[in-house]
């Protein structure tokens, strides 16, 4: 049974092409994936991301618990409302999921996890919570809309009463706050998955359609998961299940920067990652820019000469660069040029450091 978000009927009315994503019936695009992509890079677009799951972890033991549960360290959250990107690992150092954790107040955190992994995540989190003084609450009552693009914050904040507007516009990057609106039940984070500025807005599901319609009225373009995927790939952001999974260490998935190895903290997976580091990590994640004509896709073989072979984990046409790009897992000794096998032909690709695009501009040499 595929699930539907509170905005499902709206997507149907808008003529969206719907696809199954992580067990949810979600819009792939509303006509043109390319135009939706460009709307986010150049103006403002919105995504229904209500399939993602908010999980509130609260209680006197919440900080200690999350310092054990997550590979990044919530003790890094210095100011109220600050957010942190982290992997949640198993004992073997494999990635169960990647998530955002918002520190709302002392002892109050909100995690946002992926749709396809949410049920398993919940079971894991509850099992790990064991002896800690915490409550774990799945917030299936919330809808989530991501408003992204250079004009996104201004358009979205313009819909708010003056005090809330000021609060939202004052948010620093990677920070969140509750608004006064709807008795404090609207939560706004200056976060996203596109490489552009913007907000992610969580609110009671019954108000989702109203917010969506008002954003549309303010000139924010509905965008589907297709554009979301090309935007995140250009931004060099991993997609769980493509670029990493339970069999992949964050050290091999370009996520070493999210693992906090500071002393005095025994997070799940730490011992395995330290063993892997001591042994030498054999593979690394890189970006690829195709030099020949064609399109890189996931699961193509990457030939890195004497260093050995690797594989693309995500690949697409980049609408911003008008070239094909990919993320790939390759042998650690891979040089600056590789060949990618596309339908039996070996095409040349240059190894680059993601992100490919940020804030509307190319970040690699073309």
């Amino acid at each position: 049974m595929t699930q539907q978000t509170p905005l499902h009927a709206r997507h149907v009315e808008l003529g969206a092409r719907l696809v199954d994503f992580g067990g949810w019936d979600m819009p792939l695009h509303y006509g043109s994936q390319l135009e939706e992509h460009h709307a986010v890079r150049r103006d403002a677009g919105m995504f229904d991301v209500s399939h993602m799951r908010a999980v509130d972890v609260e209680g006197p033991g919440a900080t200690s618990f999350l310092r054990q549960l997550l590979a990044n360290d919530v003790a890094r959250l210095a100011t109220p409302g600050q957010a942190l990107y982290s992997c949640m690992l198993n004992e073997h150092g494999g990635v169960i999921d990647d998530l955002i954790v918002y520190g709302r107040a002392p002892g109050r955190y909100r995690l946002v996890v992926n749709a396809g992994t949410a049920a398993g995540d919940l079971r894991w989190i509850v099992a790990q919570a064991g002896a800690f003084a915490v409550t774990v609450a799945e917030r299936g009552d919330l809808a989530m809309i991501a408003v992204q693009g250079p004009n996104a914050r201004e358009r979205a904040a313009g819909l708010l009463p003056p005090a809330d507007r000021a609060l939202a516009l004052a948010l620093a990057n990677f920070h969140a706050t509750s608004l006064a609106l709807l008795d404090g039940s609207v939560f706004v984070g200056r976060t996203g998955y596109t490489g552009e500025d913007g907000f992610e807005i969580m609110l009671p599901a019954e108000h989702a359609v109203e917010l969506w319609n008002r954003l549309a009225g303010a000139g924010v373009r509905p965008c589907g998961l297709g554009a979301r995927d090309t935007l995140r790939l250009e931004a060099g952001m991993n997609l769980y299940g493509n670029d990493m999974d339970e069999a992949t260490s964050p050290l091999e998935a370009g996520l070493g920067w999210t693992v906090s190895f500071g002393p005095g903290r025994d997070f799940v997976g730490r011992a395995a990652l330290e063993r892997a580091r001591a042994a030498g990590v054999a593979r690394r994640q890189v970006g690829l820019l195709l030099e020949d004509k064609g399109i890189l896709r996931a699961h193509q073989t990457v030939h890195a000469g004497d260093a050995g072979d690797g594989e693309t984990t995500s690949g697409s046409y980049s609408p911003t660069l008008e070239r094909s790009i990919a993320l790939a897992r390759v042998p650690a000794a891979t040089g600056t040029m590789v060949e990618v096998d596309i339908r039996g032909k070996r095409l040349r690709a240059r190894v680059v450091k993601p992100p490919f695009v940020r804030h509307g501009r190319a970040r690699i040499q073309l």
């Binding site: 092409r17 792939l28 043109s32 992509h37 297709g226 064609g294 399109i295 046409y317």
Partner: protein
């Protein structure tokens, strides 16, 4: 979709169309239904002139932002030319699938094969059944 299918063309179950030209050669492309299902096209690989194709042989690839799809030769024959304009402008297939978005021209191995393909009514029925 409500756009009427061009009545002078023949079609396949894999959503190619075929036009018979006055000189007996055939022009081949993908249907409006196919281009719509694929979405914005960003890359096209067409067969080389001179290549000999079997009926049903995968010989071209059209890639949308999201995925690559094979295009099959509706009939056996020899490739006369491919649409070179698509290399720089694959979006022509989206904009004009039955015109500027043609893929390749074929010299058929058998002149009778064209008439054996689906006509517009047959293809329309196939699309209706799939909905």
């Amino acid at each position: 979709m409500s756009n009427p299918l061009p009545a002078d063309l023949r079609y396949t179950e894999s959503h190619e169309w075929v036009r018979q030209n006055p000189d007996g050669s055939l022009t081949i492309g993908i249907s409006d239904h196919a281009q719509h299902a694929l979405g914005d096209l960003v890359f096209v690989e067409t067969p080389e002139a001179g290549r000999v194709l079997a009926a049903g042989e995968a010989c071209a690839v059209v890639e949308s932002v999201k995925a690559a799809s094979d295009v099959y030769s509706p009939l056996a024959g020899t490739v006369l030319e491919a649409n070179a304009a698509l290399a720089e402008a694959p979006e022509k297939i989206n904009a004009d699938p039955y015109g500027d978005g043609w893929l390749w021209r074929l010299k058929p191995a058998s002149p009778a094969a064209f008439a054996a393909l689906l006509d517009a009514t047959g293809y329309q029925r196939l699309l209706a059944a799939a909905e």
